[in-house]
């Protein structure tokens, strides 16, 4: 790097101030990290409090203390491995459901935006899908799709579809009128308009829908596990079993894993947003 023509004096003169600055930054980030750590410690403390102070010893199985959950469940491969395997099944169900819901939801939302009459035909069905309680329609889904993996995927799709449809529709509807007219003046074909204007312009809104749906789909997969327990067991299936056998350490560990998985999926969808539209749209910015 000797060819870079930088005078040595200037950086040296800056050095003390720079150190000070770095020091201040480090302090600030330390303080930033301290808050979540304290919050976590507070949570664990409260947990211990309930286990040992609220619950009498004969009822401590309702909420075993953290170290016991760790010792008897999480740190024991014989307990952890089946959970991870089940979680993998659930993740696959959620993933397939998410992809299907995205495909169907974006297509339906885009279709609804094409004409008022289409909107008025399709929208009531979308709302219906949303207002039917999933638990109420579970028996019917079981009859139609069997009580196995297919039915779980159907639950995922149903529960994730509505936010994708409505957000896609909103995104298409909110496209700037001037831009639309520009494409009319440019004599754009329907395909050109879709690819070069509508999909990118609606992307921030569609991604908002996907963020909501990504949370829903995890819930859907776990509900699905619980009600459609035939075939390979998902984490929801295990949670049900642990409850029935009063294995509260495993139950809490499994719930924790499921929550961790949900968090991971949500983080992934936020990252996807910032990757796809962060460059030009504020909704993709990291907060």
């Amino acid at each position: 790097m000797s060819s870079v023509p930088v005078s040595g004096a200037a950086p040296r003169a800056l050095a003390p101030r720079l150190t000070l600055h770095v020091g201040r930054l480090a302090l600030r980030s330390l303080r930033g990290a301290l808050v979540p750590v304290l919050a976590l410690a507070g949570g664990l403390l409260a947990w211990y409090g309930v286990s040992y102070l609220v619950l009498a010893e004969d009822r401590r199985f309702l909420l075993p203390p953290p170290h016991q959950v760790w010792q008897l469940s999480v740190s024991d491969p014989a307990h952890l491995r089946p959970m991870l395997e089940a979680l993998w099944i659930t993740a696959q169900v959620a993933g397939i459901g998410f992809v299907l819901a995205t495909t169907i939801g974006v297509a339906v939302g885009a279709l609804m935006a094409q004409a008022r009459w289409l909107e008025r035909v399709v929208y009531p069905y979308a709302v219906l899908l949303q207002v039917i309680p999933v638990l109420a329609i579970v028996p019917l889904i079981g009859l139609w799709f069997g009580f196995s993996v297919t039915a779980r995927i159907v639950v995922c799709v149903m529960i994730a579809l509505f936010p994708i449809i409505t957000n896609t529709h909103f995104g298409f509807r909110s496209i700037d009128r001037g831009l639309r007219e520009l494409f009319v003046l440019g004599r754009a074909s329907t395909a050109q308009r879709l690819v070069r204007l509508e999909l990118p312009a609606a992307a921030p809104s569609i991604l908002t829908g996907l963020r909501i749906a990504s949370g829903q789909v995890v819930i859907g997969a776990i509900i699905g596990d619980m009600f459609f327990a035939q075939g390979q067991a998902g984490i929801g299936t295990l949670i049900n079993t642990y409850r029935a056998q009063l294995r509260s350490e495993d139950l809490i560990a499994a719930i924790g894993l499921a929550a961790l998985f949900g968090l991971l999926v949500f983080a992934a969808s936020v990252a996807l947003s910032s990757l796809l539209v962060g460059r030009w749209h504020s909704s993709g910015d990291r907060h």
Partner: protein
């Protein structure tokens, strides 16, 4: 381009009889009444010669923008006709109207892409247009990194890349601050001299209209109609020193008086 191409209107209401030799745009007894009964335009007859720069001034609600939208084919007249002698029409909106996710170059090339011009032609047109508006070096910037004036330049370049024979400008500088606005006016004068398009320019600034145009059309509202047409006999090329020229000032005064007319 030779004028052997068939006379074209944009929506099928062509009335070629009124687009006689040497005319590029012809409004003939054009009227537009909206379904709710509002009369936006009534009986406007306005021939625009090839290569002419016509400015349209008037208070809000006089239908001056509607006139442009008719010429572009975004609206169609309910009476009379609108004829445009070419398919090669550029339109500049009040806002820059850019794709926020696309770079300056991709925005400038948008219309040539939609028209599926050959790739080499597209690149050459985009290069030329970006340079012509003085945005060389900003090709990879996103719109949100640009100032309002620069965004409007991108919008101009996008229209120029089509090499339009007719340029329709709908209050393009209305949203800019005064200094940027004056810069853009000079830029447009320069582009007009070099590129040689026919221009229809809507504004509510009389001084802007007189500075730019060969003819100024003064419109009156409710219903929108032409009140007067004023020839501006100031030679080109025109520069910033014109603003203090007595002839220019006199013209601005005359048009202003016509505009105040009977309100």
């Amino acid at each position: 381009m030779t004028r052997t191409a068939p006379l074209v209107d944009t929506m099928g209401d062509v009335d070629a009889r009124h687009l006689t030799h040497g005319l590029q745009v012809a409004f003939h007894e054009t009227g537009l009444t909206y379904p709710n009964g509002t009369v936006a335009l009534e009986d406007v007859t306005l021939p625009v010669r090839e290569g002419e720069f016509v400015a349209i001034v008037g208070p809000s609600g006089c239908g001056k923008s509607t006139l442009l939208r008719l010429a572009a084919g975004l609206e169609r007249p309910t009476t009379g006709s609108v004829a445009v002698g070419t398919r090669s029409v550029g339109f500049i909106f009040q806002e820059a109207t850019l794709l926020p996710w696309a770079s300056v170059r991709r925005n400038v090339g948008l219309l040539t892409d939609l028209a599926r011009l050959p790739k080499a032609v597209r690149r050459q047109r985009v290069d030329h247009a970006v340079e012509a508006v003085g945005l060389g070096g900003f090709g990879d910037h996103l719109p949100r990194a640009l100032s309002g004036g620069m965004r409007m330049r991108v919008s101009l370049a996008r229209a120029l890349a089509l090499q339009p024979e007719v340029m329709l400008l709908d209050e393009p500088f209305g949203a800019l601050d005064e200094l940027t606005r004056q810069e853009m006016q000079l830029q447009l004068l320069d582009l007009y001299d070099r590129e040689g398009f026919t221009a229809l320019f809507v504004t509510h600034s009389v001084s802007e209209a007189v500075l730019l145009a060969d003819r100024v059309v003064v419109m009156a509202p409710r219903p929108g109609r032409v009140r007067a047409v004023v020839d501006i006999d100031i030679p080109r090329p025109r520069g910033p020193e014109l603003r203090f020229d007595p002839a220019y000032v006199a013209q601005v005064q005359a048009v202003s008086e016509l505009l105040r007319g009977e309100q």
